[in-house]
């Protein structure tokens, strides 16, 4: 059966990436993108420039309005898909309409995790996943406001950094002493976590036991603290929960994500899944921007019957306190690490090595080191630790051996 009509459910980077890759790959059928928002937007700025108000929603659109016409992608906005009907070759929309679909791509994303902390249902407790969340949080981040950020991973660290820049008094609490150590290596992770204190964010090593609403704020009880602390607002940055309800109700295999094969196909061959909710069996969900985009490219290749794109080591970036951090590969698989530059210099990078090969790298304001590392990993080029450590050897030249 030829694929004539593809319906993509969800307009994040995975959904829009799928649509773009279908057209780039020459797909000539109908592409419909169903999204709950007004138009698909990019999420990384939600904790940075969009949260400060420097950039508005239009400025973080994933594609300009004209793109949908040019690429013949039909955008059905402000609409939710309520059921998959693969046997009927359709999906059902919230208003009961059926949208014909030979293939469905689930790009449903995730929701911010809300751990069962007593009192966490207060209006003063925020999460950050959507532009609406960011709009609401921005109102709370007024100069002088006391803010508690729970979770010092990527989102938590970015929000703490943005909040302190907006003039808030920020406490950042995490039960892990050195967050991100598995992905960045313990030394770089410790230094980066220490960057918060240098930038007037107070880091607390504890868990939150409970929240209590007070007339003038919200009280947080921490496991380590001598007494309760009062805040104007709390932000939970403790991870995401994949949106798998549509998949589960449709009878697809779901286990900590919608299970997919290497071509993003679910247990029903008419349905594919991409981005945050998709999980390849025996692997972890990636939960990163580029990984979601690459899922889209793989799904498009599957739909087109084309060769999948070359795999590449996983990569992400994050920004905090005006420093740009990138990481590639799996640092937790490294047996040795090599430091390039010094933590207190203008830039630095850590390479993770195993059996004479680079398996990971992380950098602060040295993205070229990570670009080089990515190629060293992908091309399995033998690494010379002394050259990796020598800042006078340019990243580009590391590939030349």
């Amino acid at each position: 059966m030829s694929v004539g009509r593809v319906v993509i459910v969800g307009g994040g980077i995975a959904g829009v990436g799928t649509a773009a890759a279908l057209r780039t790959g020459g797909f000539d059928g109908e592409v419909t993108l169903v999204d709950a928002g007004e138009f698909p937007y990019d999420r990384p700025p939600l904790s940075k420039d969009f949260l400060t108000g420097t950039r508005d929603l239009k400025e973080i659109a994933l594609q300009p309005p004209q793109w949908y016409d040019d690429q013949r992608v039909r955008l059905v906005n402000r609409t939710a898909v309520t059921a998959l009907r693969p046997r009927d070759g359709a999906v059902e929309l919230a208003d009961g309409r059926l949208l014909p679909a030979d293939r469905v791509v689930l790009a449903t994303g995730g929701a911010a995790a809300r751990p069962p902390i007593p009192g966490a249902d207060s209006d003063r407790v925020h999460v950050l996943r959507t532009a609406d969340d960011a709009d609401r949080l921005r109102l709370a981040l007024s100069p002088g406001a006391h803010i508690l950020v729970v979770g010092a991973g990527l989102i938590g660290a970015e929000v703490a950094s943005t909040a302190v820049r907006l003039g808030c008094q920020v406490d950042l609490v995490d039960p892990v002493a050195v967050p991100l150590a598995p992905v960045l290596g313990p030394d770089l992770a410790a230094w980066l976590h220490g960057l918060h204190a240098k930038n007037h964010v107070t880091t607390l090593h504890a868990s939150v036991e409970s929240f209590t609403e007070r007339s003038n704020g919200i009280e947080a009880r921490l496991t380590s603290s001598t007494g309760p602390r009062l805040y104007d607002a709390v932000v939970l940055g403790v991870g995401m929960v994949p949106c798998v309800d549509l998949a589960r109700t449709a009878g697809l295999d779901v286990d900590r994500g919608i299970l997919v094969d290497a071509g993003q196909m679910t247990s029903n061959p008419a349905v594919l899944a991409v981005g945050d909710p998709a999980r390849v069996r025996d692997e972890h969900r990636a939960e990163h921007w580029e990984a979601a985009q690459q899922d889209g490219a793989r799904a498009a290749a599957t739909l087109l019957g084309a060769a999948p794109p070359e795999p590449s080591a996983s990569w992400f970036w994050t920004d905090r306190h005006a420093r740009h951090i990138e990481a590639v590969g799996h640092m937790d698989t490294a047996s040795d690490t090599v430091l390039r530059g010094s933590f207190d210099g203008p830039s630095c990078a850590v390479f993770g090595l195993r059996d004479g090969l680079v398996v990971a790298a992380a950098s602060v304001d040295d993205p070229a080191a990570v670009r080089a590392a990515r190629r060293l990993i992908d091309r399995r080029i033998p690494a010379d630790a002394a050259r990796l450590a020598d800042p006078s050897v340019k990243p580009r030249d590391l590939l030349r051996g």
């Binding site: 980077i13 990019d42 990384p44 659109a61 994933l62 070229a368 670009r371 340019k394 580009r396």
Partner: protein
């Protein structure tokens, strides 16, 4: 369109696979211009500021006909400036470049 080239650099000033930025005070353009030397030694010029956020393409990774932005890895075609991947959505403006006797001549505002 100007047909007067400006001698902006020697080829050896631009490391292979890298770029240098030429200041807009020299080019007379709205943005600085990135001179980008590909791995086959050909040289291209694009507006220096990534069309996504504020980053200098001259600091990017140049390889196989493309430059990759140093911030979020958007890729642009060296010849046409056409954007190849998100998060950038707009093309970078290309400018004509000539390499003569090891000297790089830039024609700001002129299509390649």
């Amino acid at each position: 369109m100007s047909s007067t080239g400006i001698r902006v650099a020697a080829l050896d000033d631009i490391p292979e696979g890298e770029g240098i930025a030429i200041d807009k005070a020299i080019t007379g353009t709205a943005d600085n211009i990135a001179l980008l030397r590909d791995t086959d030694d050909s040289v291209y010029a694009l507006d220096d500021t990534c069309t996504h956020e504020t980053a200098s393409l001259a600091d990017g990774w140049v390889e196989d006909g493309f430059v990759e932005c140093p911030l979020h890895s958007s890729k642009f075609c060296l010849k046409s400036g056409e954007v190849q991947g998100l998060p950038a959505t707009r093309n970078a403006c290309p400018h004509r470049v000539e390499v003569r006797d090891g000297e790089v001549w830039l024609f700001p505002g002129e299509a390649p």
